[in-house]
């Protein structure tokens, strides 16, 4: 499984969505139930999967699928 597939699996599990939905529009405002608790669950899963520790600013920034990709690239995760 490559890194994109790993990331998609996290999103699918946490937001009960389909992989096909994971694009630019997949963000906090558009998705029901994307609250701070869900966001922390998301970032915890990302940390576990990619063995990183995100800064608070990066956890706060993880408000869309694309933003998560940008954050992970900052931690030198290839996507």
């Amino acid at each position: 499984m490559n890194n994109v597939e790993k990331l998609n699996e996290i999103f699918v599990e946490i937001f009960s969505c389909n992989v096909s939905e994971l694009k630019t529009e997949f963000n906090k405002d558009a998705i029901d139930g994307w609250d701070s608790v869900r966001q922390l669950t998301l970032t915890s899963a990302i940390e576990d999967t990619f063995d990183v520790l995100l800064d608070p600013e990066d956890i706060i920034a993880c408000t869309s699928y694309n933003a998560v990709i940008d954050v992970l690239r900052k931690y030198e995760i290839e996507l």
Binding site: S44, E47, D48, L53, D55, P56
Partner: protein, 251 residues
């Protein structure tokens, strides 16, 4: 069985004083201990001896707890080396007394940076590593001054009051991750610093001792015993608690 057998613990500000005694007690209780301080000093010598004596691993690890980058790097180093972090003792602190009117902004910033901000940083970073392996615990070192106040210690006591409040809040917030958070609030402890004060103002200190119901000063070992208990599984149903180690004192 030893109280902390196979637990992996990090103790901050443990190069000397009460922190060192806590580290030695953890080693006696069977823990793998990472001993943090700003500088190595004689840590490499006594940690080596402590490892041999207790047939465990006691590792000096130098970093500045107020530097988030260093904190993260060193927590990850411990986590990768040991596969988990079970306990963190937030002991590093600046202790300094000033009367109101002599409390400078610069001192306050330094004190809060170490005594408060660094502890919140530790809580929010280390708890996520603990959660990866099913949980863990924090023991924060507060002070009786944070509970009852003390003249000449507005800055210090307020930082320790913050420790007490954050301990209670963090315990509630982290309980879902099976992370316990407690604090020990020492009273008057016979440290090197206390001895210096006692030498300069013996009468005042004698008065203070007279207000300790158990009739003696506390020892660093008294504090270490309480910290070790709270870090152990014997305290597995204890969280959000501030344990006074003060001989029933009223300072």
């Amino acid at each position: 069985m030893k109280l902390l057998r196979n637990k992996v613990a990090l103790i901050t500000g443990a190069g000397r004083g009460i922190g060192r005694v806590i580290a030695e007690q953890f080693a006696k209780d069977g823990a793998i201990v990472y001993v943090n301080d700003l500088q190595m000093g004689d840590m490499d010598i006594w940690t080596g001896e402590c490892s041999k004596l207790n047939n465990t691993k006691v590792v000096p690890i130098c970093f500045d707890v107020t530097n988030t980058v260093q904190l993260k790097q060193n927590l990850m180093t411990i986590f990768r080396e040991e596969g988990r972090i079970d306990a963190v003792v937030n002991n590093a602190a600046i202790i300094s007394n000033q009367k109101l009117g002599m409390v400078t902004k610069d001192l306050l910033q330094k004190m809060y940076s170490v005594n408060v901000f660094a502890v919140i940083d530790m809580l929010q970073i280390a708890s996520r590593l603990m959660a990866r392996t099913g949980g863990g615990c924090f023991v924060n070192i507060a002070s009786i001054t944070g509970v009852v106040g003390s003249p000449g210690q507005v800055a210090y006591s307020s930082s320790k009051g913050a420790i007490i409040a954050m301990t209670k809040s963090a315990a509630k917030e982290l309980s879902s991750m099976n992370v316990r958070v407690n604090a020990v609030a020492p009273g008057i402890i016979e440290t090197e610093r206390f001895k210096e004060l006692y030498e300069s103002d013996g009468e005042k200190m004698a008065q203070r001792i007279s207000r300790i119901a158990l009739g003696r000063l506390g020892s660093p070992q008294d504090v270490a015993n309480a910290v070790s208990f709270l870090a152990s599984d014997r305290a597995s149903y204890v969280s959000g608690h501030i344990l006074g180690v003060d001989g029933c004192a009223s300072i």
